[in-house]
């Protein structure tokens, strides 16, 4: 089934859906421009705008549900953005509203959590301003009805991510990580930008509706090129190979940021992009779509491997995020059969990963911002709520039966199997590794003996931080089943992204499903033996070559450094040298040459009257000679 037609809409809540973006944007502007005067209530205002946006989102959702499924794609024109190029408008459809609810919902929870987490930071107001800015940009990203609008949001979230990763900019590592995230994202944006150029050149429009309905029939090559370029953009934003390297460093940001941006929402923008463009540029079985699945699988394995070796709790979770997004990409590459699973997994992942990140934040909050899991241990007793919610998230991610992750991930694996058994089994393998590294994380943190630093006094976090955890863990438990069972989500999403002819049926005991469960269990057991039952050394053992390989992010940074940074620095020095000595040297050289000529030539003016007379004499002779020459021509 093809995606439904887009209908222009005005009136109702959908007609003012721009409020979704405007509210947090105004919040950000007010907090940034208001300065210190707004310090007192800044965080509350930040939360209020996010929640208000969520309320609007719910109302929009409800109005949308009121329409016939085939009429649920509503375009809301706003204004003429770049005359001759594009108008700005919003597209409210099942896909975008799913994101809206995730972003504003999880976003609101994280806002609330941050009140507690950032309570002692002198710049809390600014933090909330940035969070609001992020929410606005992310909503623009998913709501824009055209690629340029999407691009604006796309880079906008990049900016917010930059600001938030570098929020503690006085730490050089944070500043560097922020810059790195932005630059690597820009590499992806380079692809996205060129994709948009190509789209405009081929279709003479950049709006989704325009592209879908345009009569233009560009060549297959063009379409593939657009697809691959979009994929490059998606890789940047979603930390997929080969543009994954920024995500682990991005953990320098405050933990709510990691939860909101680098787990639940922004990093999934690549999945959104692929899904949104799916019908147009990633048709089933096309080169571009295949590339998407390969990238997805490669990343899900790479992320999982990295996750196994990290001792930094946030980095381990970041590796996990990479890996989970790899699943989503894989699903998104499969086509209509995978879209619903991709987005559903995205949503459930948003819940359980945010849950775990916030949980990790809660742990750090109680442990003097210690992130090394080797210095945790046995925390389940001192932080019961954190532990409980974290455990829910953990079970959800490893796919413990009947929890959210179980349904969505299994859906992905099933559809991948159907699509290509190789990819499917690789995905199963990834699930097994997930079982290992997530268990390792949980055991090292909450079980075993205390390995705390002397001055650590772990305690449970305040209610403002634990309540969001509780709400998120509830979502982590039930959301998956709600969405998947009965193909509820697939039929909802269908009008927006298309759906397969035959809706899949859910087999709780399929072969791959059982194998997955077995592998996960094995992984968890291995983790128990190594990290639960055994003593965990406080300093990391050297480990094998493989461990080092994983610890060093599969040498991704080393590769970047060898391939881009070193040659880049060398090129920069060369260019500066060339500019100073070569081009400017030439300019100055000409000037110096003329000056030198002058200095030498003026010596001819000897001051002797006889030599002057000689010059006249010779001049006369030359003149006579010249006249004869010219005269006899």
């Amino acid at each position: 089934m093809e995606p439904a037609k887009i209908i222009e809409h005005s009136g109702g809540v959908i007609g003012v859906s721009w409020l979704l973006i405007a509210l947090p944007l105004l919040g950000a502007a007010f907090l940034l421009l208001g300065g210190r005067k707004t310090d007192k209530f800044g965080h509350l205002l930040g939360v209020a705008t996010a929640v208000a946006s969520f309320v609007v989102g719910v109302l929009v959702f409800l109005q949308l549900l009121g329409f016939d499924p085939a009429e649920r794609r509503r375009a809301v024109p706003l204004y003429d953005f770049i005359p001759g190029l594009t108008k700005m408008g919003l597209l409210v459809d099942p896909l975008s509203i799913s994101f809206v609810l995730l972003i504003t919902g999880v976003g609101s929870l994280i806002h609330i959590y941050s009140i507690g987490y950032m309570a002692h930071d002198p710049n809390r107001r600014r933090f909330f301003a940035y969070l609001n800015l992020f929410v606005a940009a992310m909503l623009l990203l998913v709501l824009a009805d055209n690629y340029i609008g999407l691009y604006v949001g796309w880079e906008g979230v990049g900016l917010a991510s930059y600001l938030l990763i570098g929020f503690w900019q006085h730490k050089p590592s944070a500043a560097t990580a922020a810059k790195k995230a932005f630059i690597v994202n820009r590499v992806g944006d380079f692809g996205l930008a060129i994709a948009i150029f190509t789209i405009f050149t081929a279709f003479n429009t950049v709006s989704f509706a325009g592209v879908m309905e345009s009569g233009a029939d560009p060549s297959q090559g063009t379409l593939t090129a657009i697809g691959l370029l979009l994929l490059l953009g998606a890789c940047g934003k979603s930390a997929q190979l080969p543009l994954q390297s920024w995500l682990l460093d991005a953990m320098e940001g405050p933990t709510p940021v990691s939860a909101l941006i680098h787990a639940a929402t922004m990093v999934t923008a690549g999945v959104y992009l692929v899904t949104r463009s799916g019908a147009m540029f990633f048709p089933e079985g096309s080169t571009a779509a295949i590339a998407v699945t390969i990238v997805g699988v490669a990343t899900l394995l790479a992320g999982a491997i990295i996750g196994t070796a990290k001792d930094d709790i946030k980095k381990a979770l970041a590796g996990s995020t990479m890996s989970q997004i790899g699943y989503m990409m894989l699903a998104a590459g499969i086509g209509p059969a995978g879209y619903a699973f991709a987005i559903a997994h995205l949503i459930t992942h948003g819940f359980f990963k945010a849950d775990m990140f916030l949980g990790a934040g809660s742990v750090m909050h109680g442990m003097n911002d210690e992130v090394d899991m080797r210095k945790y241990g046995g925390l389940r007793k001192v932080m019961p709520i954190t532990f409980a919610t974290f455990l829910v998230g953990y079970l959800a991610i490893i796919g413990f039966p009947l929890l959210s992750g179980y349904f969505t991930k299994d859906g992905i694996i099933e559809s991948a199997m159907e699509y290509s058994s190789t990819l499917g089994w690789l995905a199963v393998l990834g699930a097994g590794i997930t079982g290992f590294y997530m268990s390792r994380l949980v055991f090292m943190t909450f079980f075993g003996k205390k390995r705390w630093e002397a001055d650590a006094h772990p305690h449970e976090s305040p209610a403002v931080m634990t309540w969001p955890l509780i709400i998120l863990s509830v979502g982590s438990i039930f959301l998956g089943g709600f969405l998947i069972v009965g193909n509820r989500f697939m039929t909802f999403l269908g009008p927006a992204v298309g759906q397969p002819e035959h809706l899949p049926s859910f087999h709780p005991f399929s072969v791959p499903g059982l194998v997955t469960l077995a592998l996960v269990a094995a992984g968890a057991a291995l983790a128990w033996f190594k990290y639960g039952a055994a003593e965990v050394p406080v300093t990391a053992p050297r480990g094998s070559f493989l461990t080092t390989f994983a610890r060093r992010d599969l040498y991704g940074d080393a590769l970047n450094e060898a391939l881009f940074m070193r040659p880049g620095q060398w090129l920069t020095r060369l260019a500066v040298f060339f500019d100073n000595r070569g081009i400017d040297g030439l300019v100055n050289g000409i000037a110096a040459g003329i000056g030198g000529t002058s200095g030498r030539l003026r010596r001819v003016q000897t001051g002797f009257v006889r030599s002057y007379a000689l010059s006249i004499f010779i001049g006369a002779a030359i003149l006579v000679g010249a006249w004869f020459v010219v005269g006899n021509l």
Binding site: G595, R602, A613, S615, I618, A620, L623, A626, W627, V630
Partner: protein, 516 residues
């Protein structure tokens, strides 16, 4: 053959400006001879100024009553449109230069006294002055008037000498740095005499070729005489040497820096403006009236000379440290730019008129600016006279902003920056040359302009962007110099913003072309 010689007819009215100047010069000599010493200065100053002003008024009157189309004085002098224009220009420039000369302190107390001797000391304490300067200047100006108007080569030779001989003397009369001044005089004299010998020999050969020294007849002969090309070529070349020497075109430019540097600055101003104008007038007349038929052969040579002159002038000026010497090289470069205009002369009537008017405009513009520049040079003084070394000018913009701004204006005009007279001058000449198909020459011209701009700009840098020295030079602006500066500024700005009236004038003058 009864041996009667018919009395020549002389159109005294037409020659009046010249005659007035010469008459006044003779009166000046008589004043020197008979008037008591203390009165001389008081007589000379008004006399000279009134003479020049009067001659100018007569010139204007003549121009308004109608420009004659035939030569006067039995064909010896052609008072035609260009000549009248040039006369007017020279007279105004001379007037301005005399204002500069009037101010005390430029001339030696007693030229005969050995520098540093007791004799000189006495002359100084007595307050003696060389009032001979005034008749000498008038003679020189008279020569300048005759030079471009001379319609035969003999008259031209005589005019050349009448113009040059007083200048040789004037060059040696500087009050300060007398050794340099005397050296300038010797050099100028020897080389000038040397070059006029070439001029004369060229005249002789052309006389031999054409049977006449009348310019028009020489031109006629070009078409009719055959087989005498050797005489013609050598003659023309040698004539050219004499003329190019006077305008300071390369390779005959060597005297210019030395003489400009050594001479008393007011005299340099007179030479740099009046002599240049007169010499260009004569050059144009010779090449246009007498050698117009030979245009195809002198144009390429003129190209070469023009290029060489521009390049040498511009490049050598860069490393100069003496302000007057730098201006001398600048004058050489400008001579080169003017030669571009000469090249633009052709056989097409319309084109000739525009090239000629361009040259005339350029001469006016350049003349005023250069007088103004030298006037400023006289005002910046050290204990030992003018502050000649460029480094002494550092920070002048801070100490005396007005003087520095005025000087900068002149320098920018030299550089040809828009909204100054120099720009329109250059533009006019370049435009004429492009119209005549001499675009490559114009390209060389603009490249030279760019090089030349460097040393003008360098002086501005010194004046404004460098910090003043603790013992910087003092600035003394006597009344006459002040007036000169004002006139030059006015001319530079007005010609740069509203050039049309003068262009019209030059155009009218050029429309009639030189009388053939």
């Amino acid at each position: 053959m009864n041996g009667t010689i018919p009395a020549p007819t002389i159109e005294y009215a037409l020659l009046a400006p010249m005659l007035v100047v010469f008459g006044a010069a003779i009166i000046g000599v008589l004043v020197e001879a008979f008037a008591p010493r203390y009165l001389r200065s008081a007589i000379h100053k008004p006399l000279t100024l009134l003479t020049l002003a009067g001659a100018f008024v007569i010139t204007i009157w003549q121009a308004r009553t109608g420009i004659p189309t035939t030569p006067s004085a039995m064909g010896a002098v052609a008072v035609d449109g260009p000549a009248l224009f040039i006369w007017g220009t020279i007279l105004v420039l001379a007037f301005v230069s005399v204002l500069l000369i009037n101010d005390e302190g430029h001339f030696v107390a007693s030229a005969a006294a050995v520098p540093g001797s007791a004799e000189e000391e006495r002359a100084l304490t007595e307050g003696a002055t060389h009032t001979e300067v005034y008749p000498l200047v008038l003679f020189a100006v008279g020569g300048m008037l005759l030079f471009p108007a001379a319609n035969d080569l003999l008259a031209m030779f005589v005019a050349l000498e009448v113009m040059s001989l007083p200048l040789y003397l004037l060059c040696g009369l500087a009050r300060r740095r007398r050794l340099l001044s005397q050296e300038a005089a010797v050099k100028y004299f020897l080389l000038g005499a040397f070059s006029s010998a070439f001029f004369l020999y060229g005249t002789a050969l052309l006389y031999g070729y054409a049977g006449s020294v009348d310019l028009a007849k020489i031109n006629t002969a070009l078409g009719s005489v055959g087989g005498q090309d050797t005489l013609l070529y050598i003659g023309v070349a040698m004539l050219g040497v004499g003329l190019l020497f006077k305008i300071g075109a390369a390779p005959f430019q060597a005297w210019k820096p030395d003489v400009y540097q050594g001479s008393p600055t007011p005299i340099t101003a007179l030479m740099a403006s009046g002599t240049l104008v007169a010499a260009f007038g004569a050059l144009l007349r010779v090449f246009w009236v007498a050698l117009g038929g030979l245009e195809w052969s002198w144009t390429p040579i003129m190209w070469g000379v023009a290029i060489l002159t521009m390049v040498v002038g511009a490049i050598l000026a860069i490393t100069q440290t003496d302000i007057k010497r730098m201006l001398a090289y600048s004058s050489i470069a400008h001579g080169g730019f003017l030669l571009i205009g000469v090249v633009a002369l052709g056989n097409n009537q319309q084109q000739n008129a525009s090239a000629l008017s361009a040259l005339l405009f350029y001469l006016v513009a350049y003349g005023f600016t250069t007088v103004g520049a030298f006037a400023v040079v006289t005002t910046v003084r050290d204990a030992g006279g003018e502050a000649w070394h460029l480094s002494r000018w550092a920070g002048l913009g801070k100490r005396r902003p007005l003087v520095a701004v005025v000087f900068s204006l002149f320098l920018l005009a030299f550089a040809g920056i828009p909204l100054t007279s120099g720009f329109f001058g250059k533009y006019a000449v370049f435009q004429a040359a492009v119209a005549a198909g001499a675009t490559p020459l114009v390209v060389v011209g603009v490249v030279s302009s760019a090089i030349a701009a460097f040393f003008y700009v360098r002086v501005i840098v010194l004046m404004f962007f460098s910090d003043p020295a603790a013992d910087g030079p003092s600035v003394v602006i006597p009344g006459g110099t002040w007036a000169v500066g004002a006139v030059a500024v006015l001319a530079t700005v007005v010609l740069g913003v509203f050039p049309q009236p003068v262009l019209d004038l030059a155009h009218t003058a050029a429309q009639s072309l030189f009388v053939r």
